[in-house]
């Protein structure tokens, strides 16, 4: 474990402590936690303006709840109306109805209220009623991971509905869900999903352990969570795959991976992951196999282009003029002749511009974003060439490597790769092709050292598993995909019975 992360975590943990944790404010000596009087609860939640306290004095019933967390219709139907219709004698009978759960534990009571349940006190005996119903985003399409064919539903911010999306796809009693909580203050729910009998329990244990070890005030998204639990937090590459697509996540589940979800986050993560998984999309499986294979290979080509193309331009224009064929030389020299900067600066300038455009497009509403793309791409590009700021060959290089980077399905990975590109451009400007090779070697060495939950991050490539290549670099016909990937070390590696 890294010293930095350790320090970071402990620091964060320390900050979390005094920051008004509800439990820590209740002095422990004041009584055992078995005291469940309403007064204690109200004490606990004092200064919470959104807490509602309703009394029905004639039947000695009090309701305590967060009005914004509960569904007013449900509350009215399940609680208020029945209470209005009873007399004092009838209350115990009413409380035997199913929606009222008697609570004995103080912690449970508090957490229930925090979750949006309504607490009902009848002569200081607490009950909880489930009337949760804050508004949530309906299940819609994923904006970041789109497919052409195949299911279009995506996770939303509600873990319950996300779990239901998975359950709908994997109808098996072997699909197990472990519920954990993370965040000392925020107490976010984390669900760890796996399929018993397929998954290697070591991985489940590792994830659970790591999530439990997190001591931080709050984690608000899965993408944030995985940075707390991955193997090398300082690496530029994400080591867990995140996805918003339930179909993708379901397929990861059955291939023996562990899935993690968070309440409040529309993405789930899967682990262990390999680098090459970031280059696959559900679409590959929904298309015919040759097309799927072609698309996959295209993505790897795109990877090559986006990492090396601009750097190669810089190297060639700065050091290796010999490499330009005679037919291309005039074009090259002519386009360079009016540029006042050395190729490195020129390339960095253009790359930065492209990144600016991308970031601006991402932050603005879709329609304006498009305009930005057009204005930036065409107008700036054209003007820059005409003004002699950049050469048009560089524009081609930069634009094609930018486009190539967007071919990679995972946004996180494509962003990381674009960052790597900057390093390579610098090195290429420094030492030409040798610098490029140094940079690539550095990336390869770094990748070889990476692990995801302890499993190799470049899995079917190293350790070499040719068997898995047919579902990594290509997408072989389903008939040939008989086994689960080696990386998951699944207990039951066979996914398809051999047809005789």
């Amino acid at each position: 474990m890294n010293v930095f992360t350790f320090l970071f975590r402990t620091l964060r943990g320390r900050i979390a402590q005094p920051s008004g944790h509800p439990q820590s404010r209740t002095p422990a000596k004041r009584g055992s936690s078995d005291v469940l009087s309403m007064q204690h609860v109200l004490d606990e939640f004092r200064d919470c303006a959104d807490l509602t306290h309703r009394s029905f004095p004639e039947i000695q019933v009090h309701l305590v709840y967060f009005s914004f967390l509960s569904d007013p219709d449900k509350l009215d139907r399940d609680v208020i109306r029945p209470l209005r219709g009873v007399t004092r004698e009838e209350v115990p009978r009413l409380l035997r109805e199913t929606q009222f759960q008697a609570v004995t534990d103080r912690k449970q009571l508090i957490e229930g209220i925090l979750k949006g349940q309504t607490a009902l006190f009848y002569r200081d005996e607490p009950y909880l009623v489930d009337v949760l119903g804050p508004k949530e985003r309906s299940i819609g399409q994923s904006e970041t991971e789109t497919v052409i064919t195949g299911p279009h539903d995506a996770f939303n911010e509600n873990a319950g509905s996300n779990l239901s999306l998975i359950r709908k796809r994997v109808r098996s009693s072997h699909l197990k869900v472990v519920k954990l909580s993370v965040g000392e203050v925020a107490k976010n729910d984390v669900y760890v999903l796996y399929i018993d009998g397929i998954v290697n329990p070591i991985y489940v244990q590792k994830i659970i352990e790591r999530v439990r070890q997190i001591e931080v005030d709050a984690i608000t998204d899965t993408s944030m969570l995985i940075q707390y639990i991955d193997d090398s937090p300082l690496s530029i590459f994400p080591q867990f795959l995140t996805s918003e697509r339930p179909d993708a996540i379901a397929s990861k589940l059955v291939s023996g991976r562990v899935i993690g979800m968070m309440d409040g986050s529309p993405s789930a993560f899967s682990a262990p992951t390999s680098l090459f998984e970031f280059f696959t999309s559900s679409d590959d499986y929904y298309q015919r196999w040759l097309l799927g294979t072609g698309t996959r290979l295209l993505r790897f080509v795109a990877f090559g282009i986006t990492v090396t193309f601009t750097a190669l331009y810089v190297a060639v224009a700065t050091y290796h003029y010999e490499m330009i064929p005679a037919n291309l030389l005039p074009t090259f020299v002519e386009s360079r002749s009016r540029v006042p900067f050395p190729p490195v600066y020129e390339a960095l300038l253009m790359e930065t511009t492209i990144e600016l455009l991308r970031e601006a497009g991402a932050r603005l509403p879709t329609k304006i974003g498009q305009t930005i793309g057009i204005v930036g791409g065409i107008v700036i590009g054209q003007a820059a060439v005409q003004a002699g700021f950049t050469s048009n060959i560089l524009i081609i290089a930069v634009a094609s490597s930018a486009i190539a980077s967007f071919v990679i399905p995972s946004y996180v990975m494509s962003a990381s790769i674009r960052l790597v590109r900057f390093g390579l451009i610098l090195l290429a400007g420094l030492w030409g092709n040798f610098g490029l090779a140094i940079g690539l070697a550095f990336v390869v060495i770094h990748l070889s050292g990476l692990t995801s939950l302890g499993a190799s991050f470049i899995s079917p490539l190293a350790p070499l598993q040719f068997k898995d290549w047919k579902d990594t670099f290509i997408r072989a016909p389903f008939k040939m995909l008989k086994e689960r990937p080696e990386q998951t070390e699944a207990l039951n590696p066979v996914r398809m019975k051999t047809r005789k």
Binding site: E322, P330, V333, E334, V339
Partner: protein
């Protein structure tokens, strides 16, 4: 964490050596053709041609860069800089030349080197040696000989063909493609020079007024020019040197004694075989078999090409003619003690090392019995019977 440490260490290094050594495209003067001539006083005259492709200070550049690329090349290469120097060595000449220009002269884009016939007679090796030694010079550099002064060819303006370097390069490229001349790249020449069973050859260029023409092929003994063959025998030489895939040759076949006729063989494919033996007197004999297939698209003569029997006769006549020409060619080589077809390699591989070393192949070659056999086959004669 390691990564960061490494990056921190790399950074100052980056600052240290970011300068020097750069060869940024637009500051370079790319020599794309150069020439060597020997002056009567023993000095070396070297001419280098730098095509002008940048159009610096030219207001047209902006327009042309947004126009078609083809246009750019044409307009960009209308002229170039010609640097002429005399010096004792080629590298010294380079130094003097670089003082004459505002460009940083580089030879990484050198495509052609021309040798004046004066240099070729003296021996090319010292110059070729320098070319090989320089790691920036491509092994794919084309070598040719100029009939006369090579430098004049670069100094002369061919108005119909702007950019003399590119012009000559394309001319040679095309002829090599059509197998009219053997391909003589730097490493081809070097290899043939070192090979003891083969002598190098090289195309000869000649200034023909408004054009440059390929006037023949030079035969070498080691690195020295000894004789030349006519350019019309170029394909034949190619056939004798090895496999030919796409040749074209004009045959003047005596048409059964009824006056001259001629046939044009195109899409010619041929295969050469050596058979080494000894004649009755114990002398080396080499039998060269040429297996030729070609289509005849033009034939002027008495024979009916559509008729099977007459076509067979024509095949025999062509074969006869080819044989005669090949034997004449070989006789020329033998007379000059130059083995331009590589018969020596076949003999060497046949007779064993000791015998080969004891033999002076050049002398043997002059006296050996060399026979040529041509198997001619017309595989089609167009779409008209």
């Amino acid at each position: 964490m390691k990564a960061r440490k490494l990056a921190l260490l790399l950074l100052p290094l980056a600052a240290l050596c970011g300068c020097g050594q750069q060869r940024v495209l637009e500051r370079l003067g790319f020599i794309n053709i150069n020439s060597y001539d020997l002056l009567p006083d023993g000095q070396l005259k070297m001419v280098a041609f730098i095509p002008k492709i940048t159009g610096e200070g030219d207001s047209q550049t902006g327009e042309s860069s947004s126009g078609q690329t083809g246009n750019v090349q044409m307009s960009g290469q209308t002229s170039g800089e010609v640097l002429t120097t005399t010096a004792h060595s080629s590298k010294e000449a380079r130094m003097i030349q670089s003082r004459q220009t505002n460009w940083e002269l580089v030879s990484g884009q050198l495509r052609n080197t021309l040798f004046g016939i004066s240099v070729a007679k003296q021996g090319l090796w010292p110059y070729v040696d320098t070319l090989i030694r320089d790691p920036t010079i491509s092994p794919r550099l084309k070598l040719s000989i100029v009939d006369g002064e090579a430098g004049d060819m670069l100094n002369k303006n061919y108005p119909q063909h702007p950019g003399v370097g590119r012009y000559i390069d394309r001319l040679l490229e095309k002829e090599i493609q059509d197998q009219g001349i053997p391909r003589v790249l730097l490493y081809d020449f070097e290899r043939d020079y070192f090979d003891d069973g083969l002598d190098p050859v090289m195309p000869i260029l000649k200034d023909a007024g408004d054009n440059v023409e390929i006037s023949g092929i030079a035969l070498f003994r080691d690195d020295k020019y000894v004789a030349r063959i006519d350019s019309k025998d170029g394909v034949l030489l190619h056939m004798l040197r090895g496999k030919t895939r796409n040749g074209e040759i004009n045959i003047e076949a005596p048409d059964g004694g009824k006056g001259l006729s001629h046939a044009m063989l195109s899409s010619l494919a041929s295969n050469r075989k050596f058979k080494v033996g000894k004649d009755a007197a114990g002398r080396i004999s080499v039998r060269i078999t040429l297996d030729v297939e070609a289509s005849v698209l033009e034939y002027m003569g008495e024979l009916k090409i559509g008729d099977d029997r007459q076509r067979a006769k024509l095949e025999a006549l062509i074969a006869e003619s080819l044989k005669d020409r090949a034997e004449n060619l070989i006789d020329l080589m033998r007379k000059n003690r130059a083995d331009g077809i590589g018969a020596g390699t076949a003999v060497r591989n046949h007779i064993g090392y000791a015998a080969w070393k004891n033999m002076n192949w050049r002398e043997e070659w002059a006296g050996a019995k060399i026979t040529v056999h041509v198997k001619m086959k017309i595989n089609n004669f167009g779409k008209f019977r």
